[in-house]
Symmetry: C2
C-alpha cells in the first residue's frame, strides 16, 4: 500500500485507492524509471480462489496500480524510435532489462541476435513534376530495406492495381518508369487487418515485381484506409530498384493528375542505405514455475520499432503489456505453477531475427513450451484472443471465454498467433500460439507512421490489455493445455 | 455509384470502390454541406434477402459511402459548441433539418421546445491562495446552472468524500467555507459509466448539500479517471451558492496542499448567469412505414452540447449516426415496414426538455411506439446494445445477437436506454428503450471538456456505429417486438 495512502486512510478520509494512485503517477512523471515505493506485500494465496475471483484481483491490480502506461511513457518519450541496429534499439534493450529487474523477476537475461541495419538517411523527397518542370512536393517515405536513388531519380509513372495488371502491360509501358501500385484497402472488410493482408503484397513485393519489368522504382500507396498526409513505411523484399510509400492523399492526387496528364513525371530522392549487420538482443524475463518449472509459457512483443515516430502502438504497448502481465500475477499474490517468460523480441519489423533465434535456442535447449502469446496489434481496448491450435486445444481455451466476459475480452477464436512467436511452431511446437486481440479500427491509421506516438494510447485500454493477457497466462499456468 | 467511379470502372482501372470514396471525401472537405453527387439508385429489393445478407449490405454502404463522418465534421467545425438557448444551438437545428432534407426523408419537421438559457460568461478563474496571498491558478469551470460569484469569492476549504462525511462535520468546519467534494472515480470498475454513476452525485448535488450547511461554494473534482488539466462541466441542481469543477490535477494538488496547510484559502470568480428561457426545437425526420405506418421506431441523439468545445462525441456522433441509420437503410435498398423517425433532441444536457416534449406529443397524438434507440455514449468502436424491456422482449432481441457478431457489436443485454428517450416510458411505453453501446474507455477522458473535438472521432468506428444502429432498426422494422 502506498505510503501516502496509509496516511490518508489513517486520517479516515479516504474511501478508495485512487488518490494514492494519482500521487504515484505524479512521481512517475518526474522520475520515469526510478524505483517506486515498495510494492504492496503480495497476499500469499493461503486458500485457493476461484478463477473468477483470481481474474478480478488481476484486473483490480492493473486498473488501480498498473505500471504499463508509465513504462510506455518512458520507452516512447525517452527512447522513442528504435529500428534494429540503431543506438536507440540498444537503449531499448537496456531499458527492457532494467524494467524487468525492477519488477523483480526471478531471472533476466539477454539473447544475442545479429540484426540488419538499414538507415533512412536525411534526404527523403517526392515530387510530381508537370509542365515546365513545375512540381508538387508530396509526402513520401522510403520502404524499409530499399536502396537509395543515388541522387534525383525522375521518370514517368504507370499506375497499376494488381500484379496481374502489371504482368499484362507491354514492356514499353513499364520500362524506365516508376510503377505506381495504387490498390487501396478494401474498406468494406470489418477487420482492418484483413484489408491490410489484402493490400500489403504491393508494399512487400512491388519493387521486386517492377524491377523484373525494367522499371526504375516502385511507388506504393500507403497501407491504410485513412486519407491523410502520413506515409506508412514498412519492410519490402530487397530489390535492385528503390521503393517508396506515398501518403494516401498523395496517391490519390498522383492518380488524378496521371489521368489528366499521363506523361507527367515523378522525381524521387532517397538516401537510405543498408549497413553491415549489428549485434543486438532479445530481452527475456522469467518467473520460475512452482510445480512444473520445465513447462514454459511465453508472452511477448517486439522491442524494435520503425523509425518515423515512437513505436507506441507498434509495438511499445506489446512490450510493456508483456512485462506487466508477469508483474501483475505476482502483485496479485499468485505463484505460477509453470514457468513464465516475458520476451521483448528484437527485429520483428525487418527480419524476424529475434523470434527466429528465440525459437532456435528453445529447440536447442530441448525446452517444453505449453503456449506462446504475442501482443502486436496495438494497445487498444481488449477484444479477446486468436489461437493457432488444434481443435481440442482451442475448445479448452474457448471454455474459459465466459471468465473474460466481465472484461469485454471474451472473443476467443481460431486466429493468428504472431510474427515473433511463429518460429516456435516448427521447433518446440507449443500447443497454442496465441495472438492478443484488441480493437483494431484505429490501428492502421497510425501503423508505421509519424503518428504512432504515446498520446494515441489510452491508459485504461492499455492496462486492461495487460490484465487480459495476465488472466490468460494465469489460466494456462494453472491448467496447462 | 459516384461519377468518378463510373469513369474509372469504364477505363477498366479499378477493382474496388475507395478511390471514388476518397474523391467524395475531398469534395466534402471543400464544401462541407453542399449537395453530393446523386446518391446511388437504391436497388429495390425485388427478392427478399436473408437477414445476414441485409446486414452485410448495410455495413458495406456505411463503410464505403457513409456520410456520418463528413456530417460530423461540419457540425463540429462550422457550428461547434451549441448549448441550449445559444445562437449555435439554433444553427444546429437548421443544420439538422437541412441534413435530413438532403437525405430525402419523407417528412422533416421541428417540434417547439422552451429551453433554459444559461451562459458561462467570460471570467472563470480559480486560485489556491497561500501565505502572503501568493497564489496558484488552477483550471476550473463553472458547473451548468451555477450562479455567479458576484466578483471574487475567497474562503477556506474543507475536503469531503461523501455526503455522509459532510453531514458529520460540525457547523464551524463548514460554515463560510468552500466544500471540496473529492471522491474520485472507482477506477477498478470496468465500465467507466459505472464509475461515473458512483461519483456524479457530487457534481449534481454538491452545491445544494453544501449550501444547507452554510458553505459559500462547492468545488467538485472533475468526473473522470484521467489525470489532466481539463475541467469537466455538467449540470448541477440549482443552488444558492456557486458550483465549479476542478481538473483532476487541480483537485489532487488542492488536496495535497490542504493537508500541508489546512488554513489555505481558495478564490473563485465566475460570471455565469441564467437568462430567460429561449424557444428551441427538436428536429424530426421520418421515413413512413410501408406495411405498419402507425408503428413507430425512434432513433436519436441530442443536438445540444456543452459549451467548452465542439460536442463531438457528446453528442454530435449520436446525431449524425441517427440520421445516417435511416439514410443507410434506404441507400442499401430497403423500404421499412414500420415508420422510422430520426430525432435530434434539444436540451438533454441541462433540462431534458426536448425528450420530455417529444414524449408528451407522442402521447397526446396517441402514437404507437415499438422501440426507441438512443446513441449518447460517443462514437467509439461498437460493442452492442443495452435494453430496458421485459424479459420476453429482451429474449427476442438477444436472439438477433449472432447477426451482429461479424461486426463485433453482439453484446446485447439488459441495460440503459437513454436520457432523451426515457420519458417515452411513462406515456406511449415502447416495448423497448435501447441504448447503443460503444466502447467507453476513452469517453470520460473528454466528456464535457474542451477536448471533445472532431479529431477524437475515428471515421470507421463512427460509421460502424451508425451501421449497427441501422441493422437493429432493420430487424425491428421487419419483425416488430
Amino acid at each position: 500500500m502506498r505510503t501516502s495512502l496509509s496516511i490518508l486512510l489513517a486520517a479516515g478520509l479516504l474511501l478508495a485507492a485512487p488518490a494514492g494512485h494519482a500521487q504515484v503517477r505524479k512521481k512517475a512523471k518526474a522520475k520515469p524509471a526510478a524505483a517506486r515505493p515498495a510494492t504492496p506485500t503480495p497476499e500469499v494465496a493461503s486458500a485457493p480462489v476461484s478463477d473468477s475471483v483470481a481474474l478480478r484481483k488481476i484486473f483490480n491490480e492493473a486498473l488501480l496500480r498498473g505500471e504499463s502506461y508509465d513504462n510506455l511513457r518512458y520507452l516512447t518519450g525517452n527512447i522513442g524510435a528504435r529500428l534494429s541496429g540503431s543506438p536507440q534499439a540498444q537503449l531499448a534493450v537496456e531499458w527492457g532489462k532494467a524494467t524487468m529487474e525492477k519488477a523483480k523477476f526471478d531471472r533476466v537475461y539477454l539473447q544475442e541476435v545479429m540484426v540488419p541495419h538499414w538507415v533512412r538517411g536525411s534526404k527523403e523527397r517526392g515530387e510530381i513534376v508537370g509542365n515546365k518542370d513545375k512540381g508538387v512536393k508530396v509526402p513520401v517515405c522510403a520502404l524499409g530495406g530499399s536502396v537509395g536513388t543515388g541522387g534525383k531519380l525522375k521518370a514517368g509513372v504507370v499506375e497499376v492495381h494488381s500484379f496481374d495488371e502489371l504482368k499484362n502491360l507491354p514492356d514499353a509501358a513499364v520500362k524506365g518508369k516508376f510503377v505506381f501500385f495504387n490498390r487501396p484497402f478494401d474498406d468494406a472488410l470489418i477487420e482492418p487487418g484483413a484489408a491490410y493482408g489484402g493490400a500489403v503484397e504491393q508494399r512487400a513485393l512491388g519493387a521486386v515485381e517492377a524491377a523484373k519489368r525494367g522499371a526504375v522504382g516502385a511507388l506504393v500507396r500507403s497501407m491504410t484506409s485513412a486519407r491523410d498526409d502520413n506515409p506508412h513505411t514498412g519492410t519490402m523484399r530487397p530489390a535492385a530498384i528503390p521503393g517508396a510509400a506515398l501518403s494516401t492523399n498523395a496517391a490519390d492526387r498522383l492518380s488524378l493528375l496521371l489521368k489528366a496528364s499521363p506523361e507527367l513525371q515523378f522525381e524521387l530522392e532517397l538516401e537510405c542505405i543498408t549497413l553491415p549487420d549489428e549485434k543486438s538482443y532479445n530481452v527475456v524475463g522469467e518467473i520460475r514455475g512452482s510445480k512444473y518449472p520445465n513447462e514454459i509459457i511465453t508472452v511477448g512483443g517486439h522491442l524494435d520499432s520503425w523509425d518515423l515516430a515512437q513505436g507506441a502502438h507498434d509495438d511499445g504497448t506489446g512490450c510493456v503489456q508483456s512485462i506487466e502481465a508477469l508483474r501483475l500475477l505476482r502483485a496479485a499474490g499468485f505463484k505460477p505453477e509453470r514457468t513464465l517468460r516475458a520476451v521483448l523480441f528484437m527485429n520483428e519489423e525487418n527480419g524476424n531475427r529475434g523470434g527466429t533465434e528465440y525459437a532456435r535456442l528453445a529447440a536447442e535447449n530441448k525446452e517444453t513450451h505449453v503456449a506462446a502469446i504475442e501482443s502486436d496489434g496495438g494497445g487498444f481496448t481488449p477484444r479477446g484472443f486468436g489461437l493457432e491450435a488444434d481443435a481440442a486445444t482451442l475448445a479448452k481455451v474457448v471454455k474459459w471465454a465466459p471468465l473474460f466476459k466481465p472484461y469485454n475480452a471474451d472473443d476467443i477464436t481460431a486466429g493468428h498467433g504472431g510474427t515473433d512467436i511463429g518460429p516456435l511452431k516448427e521447433g518446440v511446437h507449443p500447443k497454442a500460439l496465441i495472438g492478443y486481440k484488441c480493437d483494431s479500427q484505429r490501428y492502421f491509421d497510425i501503423h508505421h507512421t509519424a503518428a504512432d506516438t504515446f498520446d494515441k494510447v489510452n491508459r485504461r485500454e492499455l492496462e486492461l490489455g495487460g490484465a487480459s493477457m495476465a488472466a490468460l497466462i494465469y489460466l494456462l499456468s494453472k491448467y496447462g493445455l
